[in-house]
Amino acid sequence: MTGRIFTNIAAIAGIAGLALTWSAAAQAQEFGSPELIAAAKAEGKLVFYTANFAEVEQQVIKAFNKRFPEIKVEMVRAPGGQLITRVKTEAAAGKLIADVVDHSDRALMQPMADMFQDYAPPNAADYNPEAQIAPQLWPRATLVWSIAYNTELVKNPPKTWKDLTKPEYDKLTGQVIAPSGGTTWTRVMFERQVLGEDYWAKQAATHPVLYPSGAPMSDSLVRGEIAMGPLLYNAIYPKQKDGAPIQIFFPPEGAPVNPYASGIPKTAAHPTLQNCF
């Protein structure tokens, strides 16, 4: 079953270009009633906690502000582990500041579902029900794994996941470690379930350079520290768009996809606003 979701969403993500940010897609439609929008403007400010890449989210906020210039979005971007600690601790002390929590690790978010309000976005029908883990938590963003390589360094590029373990790419690949967050756990399980039990061992034999998260790895790829490796599409695409010597492709074996879990805490101070965000 997972294989089909992988490829379907990968295709959509490919078309959408940037990280598939559903709220951005929904922006074409109306956000809600004029009363709702007026109420949101009166609140004036939104605090947004996210584990997604800061650069990508800044683009989303920019787009949002084009539509609602009078609303200020304050973003706290932290890696998955830190973000969940912050949310849990703040909530336990009754001081959760966030109006929206947007997290990549659904397994960590699910036990906290009761903390969040019942909410459905205006385009709720467009979501794949399989991507939802609790009625309160919606996949605001869905990230897709791709393979990227530096075109200045690789003359004979890989074409599949299996290619990455070829001996000729010894010490040329990079890899983000599994405990980095929800997205990496998804990729690691995909490697094991789809590519075979021995894929990890084969990978280790090519001495990949390990990275704590995807962002520094994508930068290393641009600089030529590594020549290739699996990267989340939205971590590397902005660099290709800016002109970096990078090629990205979705391998034929499938692309692991990680829907986020995002929700509005019951304690949100600006509850109307995030309905628009």
Binding site: P79, G81, Q82, I84, A93, I97, S180, P212, V222, R223
Partner: protein
């Protein structure tokens, strides 16, 4: 008559009882402040290390108390490896730091090397570079595949290769950046040393270099050892440099390992707290050692009679020592700055060869536009300066109160104040952030989410540094002056206001400047305490780095460096003015 005497003694006794009561109250207040700032967070940390729950989320409960975390941590081969790496990196780094620091303090204090003031300034410059910035700069220079140094070697046609993503690289960068700690200790010891013993050695026929190694260095050994221990302790707690240089080859030290544990999904805070306790124990032992050394023989070379330190005539060799100063400046300031400038202005850091390095089309202001396009950038600068100022003023005042109490009064309990105010030295910032979060989030009155929680954390964390640096200026003011004021009928506070404060002002301003710089640089303890409103520069810099954009990281590093330079320059100018003012007043 007899009655009069007894009445007088009664008056005196009640006066002294009154003073006792005040002293008791004063000590209680100081201990209460220290308890809140230091003891309470440490207890939270210990609790975290001994349980498998978060003291805030699950509530404080002692039922889960066990040493399982500790045992798991001790049995983990990764921890053992990280501990071994830490000891090797910090040990090697300390050796280099001692060699460099000692050499330059000797050059500056004891030789006739030209432009000594300039070398003296160069010797302490690395103190102002945030470790993450230093790490990033050396990654750009020394990466085995894409480093600028290797690109240069290739261009010249040399078959040399450097690899800073290694233990050697880590040791080297540690050594050159933490040499100033050794320099500061040994330079002042050399300056305060009576040269008559050296003269005696030379009269007895010893050569200049034999004298150096058999007389001079042994005499200032306490200063060397304490500088050495301090630089070792500081390296133990550094995250930025090993994070950048160690990560690509999976070379973990304790700080990066702790950071990893807190960063993983799910995060392992309790394990991190247990690893942190190991780090605390190592540091605590070293601090204890340092105190032992310092309390031993450190001032024995300073005699009562006046002297001038001798300056050795190096002849033509003085240009060689000058050259060494230039090389050091080149390595710690010029090369890293150039690397940051290249990275900040270059669109992409893919540098095929030297001609591509000088290709003007590759350069733009893109990264600067992009960081200033982010509203967080200006806010983080504003916040950092605000936190820095609060920390400097409040922390400076508190350190003054503590230092005065420890060094200038006989009140009972001052030993405790001394010990507790030194404790934070032993706690790595990365972990203390979580401890502060656990400890202070529940404080009524809404401390969390304000600038003050950051400022309080910095005040607590840097209290040892500030108290120590202030104490030296107390030690320089002779008690006679205060006693004179008492005789003239001034009270304690009057004496402090009219005598101690004006005389110690240069020292106080210098300590506050130090506190300001440390607060602006501080990353570890800020990570858990900032919110969207109170983002500070160091956290944003890590964000840019972790966001994988070297260009933005370098651009923001330059902004931070320039800002620090301007602020330190300003403070220096102020404190010089203050020093002159106080000289004028006493003269």
């Amino acid at each position: 008559m007899n009655g009069q005497t007894s009445r007088r003694s009664e008056v005196m006794r009640s006066a002294s009882e009154g003073r006792h009561a005040w002293a008791g109250l004063w000590v209680t207040v100081l201990l209460a402040i220290l308890g809140f700032l230091v003891i309470y967070p440490i207890l939270m940390l210990l609790l975290g290390a001994l349980t498998d729950t978060s003291p805030v989320v699950e509530g404080i409960s002692l039922s889960h108390l066990s040493v399982t975390n500790f045992l798991t941590v001790l049995a983990n081969p990764n921890v053992a490896e990280a501990l071994a790496n830490t000891l090797i990196a910090c040990g090697g780094g300390t050796l280099i730091a001692v060699a460099i620091g000692l050499l330059f303090s000797w050059i500056v204090v004891r030789t006739n090397t030209p432009f000594k003031g300039f070398i003296a300034a160069a010797s302490i410059l690395p103190l102002f570079a945030p470790p993450l910035v230093a790490g990033v700069a050396w990654a750009i220079l020394g990466s085995p595949k894409t480093g600028l140094i290797n690109t240069m070697f290739k261009w010249i046609g040399l078959d040399w290769r450097v690899d800073f993503y290694s233990m050697w690289g880590l040791v080297f960068v540690f050594g050159i950046y933490y040499a100033p700690y050794v320099y500061m200790f040994t330079a002042s010891a050399l300056r305060n040393m009576d040269p008559s013993l050296e003269e005696a050695a030379e009269i007895s026929g010893a050569s200049a270099f034999a004298t150096l190694f058999t007389v001079t260095f042994p005499l200032i050994m306490p200063a060397i050892v304490s500088g050495m221990l301090l630089s070792f302790i500081v390296m133990l707690g550094i995250y930025g440099i090993p994070a950048v240089l160690g990560a690509p080859t999976n070379l973990a030290v304790l700080t990066t390992y702790i950071f990893k544990l807190t960063n993983w999904s799910p995060p392992l805070y309790n394990t991190a707290a247990a690893v942190a306790i190991i780090l605390m124990v190592v540091t605590g032992l070293l601090v204890f050692l340092q105190q032992k050394v310092l309390s031993g023989r450190s001032y024995t070379t300073v005699a009562g009679k006046a002297f001038r330190p001798r300056s050795l005539d190096l002849g033509r060799w003085r240009w060689f020592t000058f050259g060494l100063g230039i090389v050091y400046l080149l390595v710690v300031v010029v090369l890293p700055s150039l690397a940051l400038i290249v990275a900040a202005f270059r669109k992409f850091m893919f540098i095929r060869d030297v001609s591509s390095l000088f290709d003007a089309r590759q350069y733009s202001l893109m990264h600067f536009y992009s960081i200033f396009d982010n509203p967080l950038t200006m806010r983080s600068i504003y916040n950092a300066v605000e936190v820095g100022l609060i920390t400097a003023v409040v922390g400076g005042a508190l350190a003054f109160a503590i230092g005065y109490t420890i060094h200038r009064t006989q009140v009972t309990g001052r030993r405790w104040i001394d010990v507790i105010s030194t404790l934070p030295v032993a706690i790595p910032g990365l972990v203390v952030g979580v401890a502060y979060l656990w400890a202070w989030i529940g404080v009524p009155g809404g401390l969390y989410g304000t600038i003050w929680i950051l400022a309080l954390a910095f005040i607590a964390r840097f209290m040892p540094d500030t108290v120590k640096s202030l104490s030296t200026s107390f030690l320089q003011i002779h008690r006679e002056l205060e006693e004179a004021a008492w005789v003239c009928g001034k009270g304690m506070f009057g004496t402090i206001r009219t005598i101690v404060l004006p005389l110690a002002r240069p020292g106080v301003i210098a300590s506050m400047t130090l506190l300001f710089v440390l607060a602006i640089r501080e990353l570890g303890s800020s990570l858990f305490l900032y919110t969207s409103n109170t983002m500070v520069m160091s956290v944003l810099l890590l964000d840019y780095y972790e966001g994988g954009n070297l260009g933005k990281t370098a651009a923001f590093s330059l902004v931070q460096t320039v800002l620090l330079g301007v602020l330190i320059g300003g403070a220096n100018w102020l404190s010089r003015g203050a020093a002159q003012g106080s000289v004028a007043r006493t003269g």
